[in-house]
Symmetry: C2
Subunit: 192 residues, 2 copies
């Protein structure tokens, strides 16, 4: 499928409001079917997603967001994705990475397991946002929410932990502010 | 610039070896000029990069990698990127996020600062890998290295911390193994 780097990076913006266009469930699945292929450590792919798109589920999610604009953003979005990590990801490794005894890398080491779960799921958040844009959606990732409340509401009594909440839809460009600056290449990078 | 989702996701593979083709410095800068636009929390963009492409720098990096295949991968790659995070990123926020007193979100809270630095830089690693692929490169991200040794060799006495080491170049497809499986949509995702 053809896309452009403008749509993925240079002209894409974090959505601040959405047009009243529906997002089909097939498009949400298509995001996953792209982003699932992004590389992770030992193919551990710990990211787990709940796509919130009914009024009932939205009503459960809104009070978990920080008061103010983050609650309003979820209320106004056609879909909001709860992006989390599965601390029990090693259970899946015999199938996901069959060429080694990958569960042994984590056995008896909960700190290493949690770090791998959190770090790799954040890398996958990057893939998720770019994949959503590749499918013509705009994304509005947020960190301001009560993770414990989200987990209790959507992943009770599981080892899944929410890490980022991301609205999805067709962004209302009229609501955007000018883009904030980025560091110059020489400030963020060096050649050795 | 035109790209395809096949090149970014569905047909892209983690490189296991590279063809002897050079990677111009301009291409390395172009990766940054794409990935820098990916969203981060309050535009904090903490990722910092050292592109290792001289024999001298490669010789300093190789002993920091886990013995065995990771050392061989760095030796064989035309370029290896050290991807790290800047724990002092709040100093840049008055310029990067001028619409709020963003440094106050982190002042006096080193744990929150470190979490934001680590989490956002990992999201940016996802952008980095996809941006490299958009520019026609293959990437080989690795977690098996001595972070303290890398930091001492490339970022001595700074608040920068390496998080992922990623080879870059034109992958040798003949060296690839069959792709490992991914979880099905219904295993990783749910609709609410």
């Amino acid at each position: 499928m053809q896309v452009t780097t403008e749509a993925l990076f240079t002209e894409a913006r974090t959505a601040r409001g959405y047009l009243p266009a529906e997002v089909p469930d097939a498009t949400l699945q298509a995001i996953y079917e792209l982003m699932k292929f992004g590389p992770t450590s030992g193919n551990c792919t710990p990211l787990r997603i709940v796509f919130v798109r009914t009024a009932e589920a939205r009503d459960r999610l809104v009070p978990c967001m920080d008061p103010g604009s983050n609650q309003a953003k979820v209320r106004a979005a056609p879909v909001t994705a709860i992006l989390g990590t599965d601390l029990a990801f090693p259970e899946k490794l015999p199938r996901l990475f069959p060429s080694a005894d990958a569960p042994s890398w984590y056995a008896g080491n909960p700190a290493k397991t949690t770090d791998a779960a959190i770090h790799n799921a954040h890398i996958q958040v990057g893939y998720f946002i770019i994949a959503a844009r590749a499918l013509g959606l705009d994304a509005g990732p947020m960190g301001g929410f009560d993770g414990g409340a989200v987990d209790a509401a959507f992943w009770p009594s599981t080892p899944k932990r929410s890490i980022v909440i991301c609205t999805l839809g067709h962004g209302d460009a009229s609501r955007l502010h000018p883009r904030d600056p980025r560091l110059a290449f020489d400030e963020a990078c060096s050649l050795a």
